[in-house]
Symmetry: C2
Subunit: 158 residues, 2 copies
DNA sequence: GAGACAATGAAAGAAACTTCCACAGCAGAT
DNA sequence: ATCTGCTGTGGAAGTTTCTTTCATTGTCTC
């Protein structure tokens, strides 16, 4: 199981992955043409990429501001204790918070780094005071308000 | 221009946005059924959401490990000077680095927070030594290796 | 070469897309 | 109250696309 190295994709598979990463709603016919292969083959290839889990999903990206989520905030979290139970409890609770878009266990000055979307600063203050610092085992948080989203969710560079 | 508040969506629009956020490849027919509206209406609504920019794109999510990008790293960056030129130069250069998936200007201990994907630690070391610290105006960087991706790119909570 | 195997493209019935059209609901003016 | 314009709706129909089947091609091994 070589998880960290490229799976056995040929040039066609890679082209399909790249094309669908750019436009997930490409029709099979268009995709086939772009990849220089018949529709039938393209269909089979694409199906395989989905079935075998190389494509984990296709999502429409909704403009955050349009749905009242204009504010992006990063939060570093330090826990009280570094026990497996402590980590598990925090992770479980963080999973439940819908405002938490990403949650990563990291090595460095923090235990976790969270990416959070809310309507505005007032909303974040409320979330911070009522929910974040109340998450299990939280000793300290450090907030980084995002003032400008320079680059956001770029495509995977492969 | 009320950028931070919810645009004028009715319940149907919101349902469409949510459905496509979960599965961007839903056929118009399925979407129409799920939203309880005729195919024609659903098609028109969806088209509008794309045309008016409320859906900024539809992307297939490719399993990072499958394409040799198993390592995720967050990097905090502090610049030498806080001049507009300095920021612009850094942002321009960061945009060019394909390994940099996200780049955000933040308020707090750092000037920028970067999200980076590479094959492994060795790859990151190379990137860090050859490219990151060479970005224009960088005084200091702080690296956070992600040891566990607890939650990744969750859907927008609206 | 011969045989086994995997992958391919053409074809065709089924499904979906996308446009056109007539109609319903609603607001404002008369 | 009625008219009028406007917006949004669903049915229908022609066109496109999907998805399966099948015969064929190319490759590898012996």
């Amino acid at each position: 199981m070589k998880e960290t190295s490229t799976a056995d994709f040929d040039k066609i598979d890679l082209k399909i992955l790249r094309a669908l990463q750019s436009d997930g709603r490409l029709t099979n016919a268009d995709l086939a043409q772009r990849v220089n292969v018949s529709a039938a083959t393209c269909h089979r290839r694409t199906q395989r990429l989905f079935d075998e889990g190389y494509i984990t999903g296709v999502r429409a990206e909704v403009a955050p501001a349009a749905v009242g989520l204009g504010a992006l905030v990063m939060v570093g979290v330090v826990l009280d204790r570094s026990t497996p139970e402590s980590f598990a409890a925090f992770e479980g609770a963080a999973m439940e918070l819908k405002e938490v878009l990403d949650c990563n266990l990291v090595a460095g000055d923090f235990d976790y780094l969270l990416k959070i979307r809310v309507r505005d600063m007032a909303d974040f203050n409320k979330l911070h005071g009522e929910k974040l610092i109340a998450l299990p085992g939280v000793r300290q948080t450090r907030t980084f308000f995002v003032m400008k989203e320079v680059k956001e969710s770029a495509r995977l560079p492969f």
